[in-house]
């Protein structure tokens, strides 16, 4: 009964989205206030209806109603309560419903907070939201209905894939979708502005908060996925350039470019057509990210729904959304006139270079991700494009981007003073030289790769440069402290936001460099009592317990004691978990962190002589990767908070 109610609510939501997509659009064209005003209640009603449908599916999961096919295929009575709920989006149908639910949340937020917007712009933007909702709800109803019944109902379900039964991955999809779908708002406003034929500061001011929110969520979503990969795949790695990872990284790069180009559009009335194009591209890449994983056009380790029938519908949706908006762009964008000319040495000049580098990076990753598919479709063989390609292409783009990131904020709008900016960066330069030299002396030369010295130097340049910029603004050390304190209070939050986000990138670079350059890895067979030396830590396997009971699995649990110079450091208890339904073993790495590095232990299979395969790692600076990502997201949230106050 509840499932039918959810199904019915979703059908009603389809009709409401049709109304939201059409009437306000007509009203905006005819300047008819009554029709335009339909948008707000329609967005509200859509939120209520999709929310009902989503709640109905959650209710079916929580009550383990196995007469619903989707529940029977993805849940089990023994599953812990949390994973009964997160299992809702651990599958294709449910995750699409989550997508639409988040879309309706954004829609209602835009409708409520958009009171002070030009009514025509608001009506059109909400109408475009309605169109997106319409396409997705139809996709769910016609190809991926989660409310289908199963008769007779099985006694129990098939269970959720054990690798998804993890807090990191449980909340990874909602954050990823909050990011993807957030870009739909920038897209809707871009389309509304194109129809209007007018891109002004008001438009840019609308695009920015949504892009900030979406980017922050997406940053957290990607970081969670990466964190999950780090501690469950058991290889001590956190990024694999896997197609599914790339699918989420491309909208991130394009969205970051959009975030910066919209500043130029807002402050200088320039880069208008480019900002519109970026908004279209970012949302299109988000759609691609949603679909590539699920269409059967792409396969990888963690795609969990592949169905070519859906592919046709998806391609149709993409063609309508992206193709339609690009045609509109080709017709309308040439008429957009920039208000100001560009000087190459200026804040906007630096932001333009930022955009070019980020867009090139996104383009290269798209090429690398789709290239194997091209080759395969043209029957030229089967190839796979792996990390070497992405590293070779991506790193040379990121080095100048990072170098310029310290300089750009120092430059004025319109006409910057490059020698002056560089002079103010002298401390950053000194910091970079010192860090490079120190790295060379301590860990460089024989003990580690040369590039790592340069990479840490670059991170120091960015970190010190970002702090210098803040110190400049506060007139720190130049005037007395009370004046700096006063300035610190009056400085807009956006300035702190940028400082935190850019510092986050410096921290991230340190983490990436450390974990790549100085990782120690020991793989061996150990008997209880054996000892292995890992990067100065002495790890002893004290015992191995078999058949340890978990909520819905049994585990082999190994106990390690880690010592350093004879002193106890930590006890580590990695597990290998065996789930009953479905029968898949998973790895649960034990990690001891001191924020400078992680001691990481994995227990594997047993051999015939009482030994166990163990993998022991020391991963230096890995926590910095996640701290850096967190700082970037925090910067975004702070900027968002600053705009409203």
């Amino acid at each position: 009964m509840i499932a039918e109610m959810g199904h019915f609510a979703l059908i009603l939501a389809l009709f409401v989205s049709l109304i939201q997509a059409s009437l306000p659009m007509v009203g905006a064209a005819r300047r008819h206030a009554g029709l335009m005003n339909v948008a707000k209640p329609a967005a509200l009603l859509q939120f209520v209806l999709v929310g009902l449908a989503f709640s109905a599916l959650i209710a079916a999961y929580v009550t383990s109603d196995f007469s619903v096919l989707n529940v029977a295929q993805n849940s089990h009575t023994d599953k812990p309560f949390l994973y009964k709920i997160t299992g809702v989006w651990g599958n294709h149908e449910g995750s699409m419903l989550l997508w639409v639910f988040i879309l309706s949340v954004y829609g209602v937020t835009a409708a409520v907070f958009g009171e002070n917007l030009p009514p025509v712009l608001r009506a059109r933007a909400l109408a475009v939201q309605g169109m997106i909702g319409c396409g997705f709800i139809a996709f769910i109803l016609f190809t991926s209905n989660p409310f289908l019944r199963l008769d007779p109902a099985p006694a129990n379900g098939e269970g959720l894939n054990p690798i998804l039964q993890d807090p990191g991955l449980a909340f990874h999809p909602p954050f990823l979708y909050l990011g993807y779908v957030g870009f739909s708002m920038a897209f809707s406003f871009a389309i509304a502005a194109l129809i209007e034929g007018k891109v002004d500061a008001a438009f840019a001011r609308q695009v920015r908060p949504w892009t900030l929110a979406a980017s922050s969520f997406l940053t957290l979503g990607i970081a969670m996925g990466s964190w999950w990969a780090y501690y469950t795949l058991g290889w001590g790695g956190w990024w694999y350039w896997d197609p599914v990872e790339n699918a989420s990284f491309m909208p991130w790069l394009a969205g970051t470019a959009l975030l910066h180009s919209s500043i130029v559009a807002e402050k200088r009335g320039a880069l208008k057509a480019w900002t519109i194009l970026l908004a279209i591209i970012t949302f299109s890449l988000s759609l691609l990210g949603t679909f590539l994983v699920r269409s059967g056009a792409l396969t990888s380790v963690h795609s969990f729904a592949s169905d070519p029938q859906r592919g046709v519908f998806i391609l149709l949706l993409l063609t309508l959304a992206t193709g339609g908006s690009l045609v509109l762009y080709a017709v309308r964008a040439p008429a957009l006139k920039n208000e100001n000319l560009f000087a190459p040495i200026s804040r906007e000049g630096a932001l333009l270079i930022n955009n070019l580098l980020l867009a090139t990076a996104a383009g290269s990753i798209l090429l690398g991700t789709l290239y194997p598919l091209f080759i395969d479709a043209l029957d030229l063989g089967k190839i796979s494009v792996g990390p070497p390609f992405f590293n070779i292409v991506f790193l040379p783009l990121m080095v100048p981007l990072t170098a310029i990131m310290a300089v750009g904020p120092m430059l004025e709008w319109k006409r910057g003073d490059l020698p002056g900016a560089l002079a103010r960066l002298k401390f950053a330069f000194i910091a970079a030289v010192i860090v490079t030299a120190a790295t060379w002396l301590i860990a460089g030369g024989a003990a580690g790769p040369l590039w790592a010295c340069g990479a840490l130097g670059l991170a120091a340049w960015l970190g010190a440069g970002t702090l210098s910029e803040l110190a400049d603004r506060l007139q720190l050390f130049r005037t007395d402290f009370s004046e700096s304190w006063r300035r610190a209070h009056s400085l807009p939050r956006g300035a702190y936001a940028m400082t935190i986000a850019h510092l986050g990138i410096a921290v991230l670079i340190v983490g990436i460099t450390g974990s790549t350059a100085w990782k120690t890895e020991k793989i061996q067979i150990m008997q209880p009592g054996d000892t292995v030396d890992v990067a100065g830590y002495v790890l002893t396997l004290t015992s191995v317990e078999e058949h340890v009971k978990g909520p819905n699995y049994t585990a082999r649990r190994a106990h390690f004691i880690a010592r350093r110079r004879g002193h106890f450091v930590a006890a580590l208890a990695p597990e290998r978990r065996y789930y009953a339904v479905p029968p898949i073993p998973t790895t649960f790495a034990a990690i001891h962190t001191n924020f400078l590095g992680d001691l990481y232990a994995v227990i594997g299979d047993a051999d015939d002589e009482g030994g166990y395969l163990t993998r022991l790692y020391y991963n230096p600076l890995v926590p910095w990767i996640f701290i850096g990502a967190g700082m970037m997201a925090a910067g975004g949230v702070l900027a968002l908070a600053g705009r409203r106050s």
Partner: protein, 181 residues
């Protein structure tokens, strides 16, 4: 004019991408599925096995039983929903000169037996593959999987995932007819 052309570039690039995706979807629809690795065992002799019976009144299964008849070998489990979906279709596959054989995959014998008792037992023979040795030899990686084996004991077809009425009509029935000649 050239400025206008520049603004056409995105839609041109996008159209090329869509065209490619469409091509790929057509390939997938025609069974050219790049992500599915075809079974290396197709057109090779079935691996040897000798499995004890699951039920008192249905015999077990040995490689020698395959000779002289067309065999449809179905790996199933009581715990798997797609197996339940294809279950009613299995009986329709039996016929003159065709043996329907089943092997429960990673399924407790008592569970498999009690499920067949409830849902009906369409099989001519069921072998218990206690250590999953035979499933490993066949390269089974999930249930259901169905193999068609000809009269000389050579695997001629493999289906990963449940059988559907369309699949039976379009692929299995013509193949069985041909193999019976």
């Amino acid at each position: 004019m050239t400025r206008r052309l520049l603004f056409l570039l995105p839609i041109v690039v996008f159209s090329a991408l869509v065209g490619f995706c469409a091509l790929r979807l057509i390939l997938v629809a025609h069974g050219h599925t790049p992500d599915l690795i075809p079974s290396v065992l197709v057109n090779h002799p079935a691996p040897a096995f000798d499995l004890p019976p699951l039920l008192a009144d249905t015999p077990g299964l040995r490689t020698d039983d395959l000779k002289g008849k067309v065999t449809i070998l179905n790996f199933f489990a009581s715990t798997c929903v797609p197996c339940r979906a294809e279950h009613p279709l299995l009986a329709g596959l039996k016929g003159d000169g065709v043996t329907l054989a089943g092997i429960p995959y990673k399924n407790r014998s008592t569970d498999a037996a009690s499920w067949l008792e409830n849902a009906g037992d369409p099989y001519d023979a069921i072998g218990v593959d206690a250590d999953s040795r035979t499933a490993i030899d066949f390269g089974v990686y999930g249930v259901p999987e169905t193999y068609v084996i000809d009269r000389r004991g050579t695997i001629r077809f493999k289906q990963t995932g449940p059988l559907t009425p369309e699949l039976i009509r379009q692929r299995l029935e013509p193949l069985i007819k041909e193999l019976k000649k």
